[in-house]
């Protein structure tokens, strides 16, 4: 692939979530001009916004809200400007999670209906490289449909509830599935809003290719 003429500006949202170093380097490697910041104005202005997230759902949501993340994401999406959520950064986009925070279910950003629940498998967390089932017409997975990606998580969206009908059917989200004990949503492409449950920044060449697909779409 040839490099785009201008390097798209990507903000990796820094809201206190774990190792974001790798995401920054991985995006730079595929041609993005990357800024690691928690500044809302910068996150609004960027060509692409990368929303990371590791650890506890409740802790991530608290950090995301403190950084004005929900409003930034809303405004970006209203303007059709790309957002990519990864791991808990993907989970945050659903209505909520049953991951315990003192026994209370935690509310998410509600961009997508449905909840995030614990995987039902003999071994949890799901940790390692898994294959995915990619739908027709995906942009993110173009060229890496048959590759494995690195997952590390105990919770996931076990069902997908957004099935637009009528005039909206043409823009139905592209949902990629994987299996660990049970089927779960591994990635979503929904207009400007994309997300992966796995870590593309830790998925070697396959992950780099996926990130490059996203960066080139900006």
């Amino acid at each position: 692939m040839t490099a785009p003429a201008a390097r798209p500006h990507v903000v990796v949202l820094d809201y206190g979530s774990g190792n974001v170093h790798s995401a920054v380097r991985a995006l730079e490697r595929v041609g993005a001009d990357v800024e690691l910041t928690g500044d809302a104005a910068a996150a609004l202005a960027a060509d692409g916004l990368f929303v990371p997230g590791v650890g506890n759902f409740h802790a991530c949501l608290r950090g995301l809200r403190a950084a004005d993340g929900p409003r930034v994401i809303d405004i970006r999406l209203a303007g059709g400007r790309p957002v990519l959520g990864v791991c808990v950064g993907m989970q945050a986009l659903f209505d909520g999670s049953s991951e315990s925070a003192g026994g209370q279910p935690e509310e998410g950003l509600g961009q997508w209906p449905g909840s995030v629940d614990r995987l039902d498998a003999p071994v949890v967390p799901h940790m390692g490289w898994s294959s995915v089932r990619v739908p027709e017409g995906t942009r993110l997975f173009a060229g890496v449909e048959d590759q494995r990606f690195y997952f590390v998580h105990s919770y996931a969206a076990l069902a997908w509830h957004l099935h637009p009908e009528g005039a909206f059917a043409a823009v139905a989200p592209k949902v990629t599935w994987a299996t660990h004990g049970t089927d779960f949503v591994a990635a979503v492409e929904n207009g400007p809003l994309s997300a992966t449950q796995f870590h593309p920044e830790k998925s070697g060449d396959a992950g780099a290719h996926l990130l490059e697909n996203w960066v080139r779409s900006l």
Partner: protein, 260 residues
């Protein structure tokens, strides 16, 4: 139950002392075989699924070099990186994660103070915390190894009066997201993994289990997976160029094990 699609991981471990690989050997095409970053890149090119750095730096003054090595590795190798050795506190974990580690191994400090496991898991999530368990068989009154497994600390030098199977189960309950199970009896023998130990811990925990210690030949890895390991780790066979990661994966695949 639906199929589990995750591939068995092959992990390469590097012992790092003051930023240098311990006992470096010269691989062809490596500028500096003592540089952990160069070796990490080599293993990545061979198709390794994950890397583990074991920091054996004795002097705390030299620890800064460890953080530098972690950062340089994370900038150049885009697969998961675990760092263990000398991790004593939540702050140590925080520093390693900020430097670019994805997971952090704890051992001695968690035995001394088990609450440390919960503290780390609460702050960063269970998925970053690897319980590194250095296990020995208890020596019976007749001087022979028994089927009873006990914990050791300080790189296997100090036995602790703590049942290894119970400790692994308790650590998983406290929040460890993975167990790196290292047989100190098998370690260095190259006679194969301690399969009984793997099976005992597998029966006691539901978190991922990494088998370590004893790998000497490509045929040693599949039995560890059959005994219950989700991942297999080796150091010296890779380090001395006796086996490549690709050879290990081919041997696993030949035994019907799913690998990447």
């Amino acid at each position: 139950m639906a199929a589990v699609s995750v591939a068995t991981r092959v992990i390469a471990c590097l012992d790092v002392d003051a930023g240098r690989v311990v006992k470096g050997v010269n691989f062809e095409n490596l500028r500096d075989a003592g540089d952990p970053v160069e070796l990490a890149k080599l293993y990545d090119a061979q198709g390794v699924d994950e890397l583990t750095f074991l920091d054996v730096t004795a002097s705390s003054g030299d620890r800064a070099t460890t953080y530098d090595v972690v950062t340089r590795t994370a900038e150049q190798v885009f697969i998961p990186l675990t760092v263990g050795g000398g991790v004593r506190s939540v702050d140590d974990v925080d520093r390693l994660l900020r430097a670019g580690a994805d997971k952090v191994g704890v051992n001695t400090a968690a035995i001394a103070r088990p609450e440390l496991i919960a503290e780390i898991a609460d702050r960063f999530g269970a998925q970053v915390l690897v319980l590194s368990a250095d296990v020995r068989r208890r020596i019976g009154d007749d001087g022979r190894r028994t089927g009873e497994f006990v914990m050791t600390t300080h790189g296997g030098r100090t036995p602790v009066d703590l049942d290894a199977i119970e400790w692994c189960a308790r650590a998983a309950e406290l929040g460890a997201g993975e167990i790196l199970l290292n047989s100190m009896d098998a370690d260095g023998t190259r006679d194969g993994f301690d399969l009984e130990l793997i099976a005992r811990v597998r029966a006691a925990v539901t978190v991922p289990l990494v088998a370590s210690g004893g790998a000497g030949a490509a045929m040693h890895f599949a039995p560890a997976v059959a005994a219950g390991a989700d991942a297999v780790l080796a150091a010296s066979v890779f380090h001395f160029g006796e086996l490549t990661v690709a050879q290990v994966k081919a041997a696993l695949r030949a035994e019907g094990v799913t690998v990447r």
